[in-house]
Amino acid sequence: MRHGRSPKPSNGPGPDHAYDRGSPAARLAGIEFNDNTDAQLVDLLRAGDADAFAEIVRAWSPMMLRVARTYVSTEASAQEVVQDAWLALIRGLDRFEGRSSLRTWMLAILGNLGRSRGVREARTVPWSSLGPTEDGRPLVDPDRFRGPDYRWPRHWTPVGKPRPWPRSPEEETMAGEGRSLLEDGLAQLPERQRTVVTLRDVHGLSSDEVCSILGLSASNQRVLLHRARSRLRGHLEPYYATDASAAGDRGVGT
């Protein structure tokens, strides 16, 4: 039996944070696969270990659903595509040769099913070109930087300089308090930015995976990711850069 010998290196912070939602099973499925964990998982599945299967269904389905949503136009269609992809995976497991990771293989199955379904639904999203008009606003207010005549031009002004956040957005998001703030920020992003940042930072896909799913060049993927992350940081800033803990409704943006 062969297993992947050289998993592709992935950029960025890696997927390990994304599935770290408490359960050991989710952690197992979300970690960067090396030859051993992937081979173990494939062995368990081939041996008919239904618990192992239930674990990866639980761990991967949210990510798969979000990926499927990029191919098809409704949540219901996406659910069907994901279920079909799981069925295709268990039926095709004997043909899996381990040349890629199981997750990469799954994403390929999902892509094939999703794209053919998307064609039938005539869903077309112009992913490959970056719309210049989609987001013309600067990511950080230019007034927060010094003008060109200052000794160190374009450095932070004393007032514009970011102030530390006394509270951690991560803790508050996990506790649910900051979650709606961040989800609100995500909802306000242009669609392509939202999709890229969701696949990368919410679901923990690598930049290579996101480029392949969306048909984006690496640099366009980074531009969308950068805009999205910068906007979200800016969205959190008015809330977290204040000492008053009851500042939740102190307007974000305008």
């Binding site: 268990i90 989800e183 923990g204």
Partner: protein, 91 residues
Amino acid sequence: MNDDRAAPGMTISCQEVVELVTDYLEGVLDSDTAEEVEAHLGLCDGCNIYVEQMRATIRALGSVSVSTLSQDAQADLVRAFRDLHRPTASR
């Protein structure tokens, strides 16, 4: 030009760092630029805070709620998996 504006970390402005931060975190900057960004972060409190807040935002995104398959749909899949591996399923 032995101007301190040419010192390591000062040839780059805060406004540029803010634009490079994703390339920096993704590890795709060329080594000269990456060194310059790092030197800048060593000097500049504001940019340090900014980059840390970008990291904090990314970490927080790992905790937003996500939708998944219904419990019923997941149970159906596990049932299909069991059926496929049932030792007696030999027809």
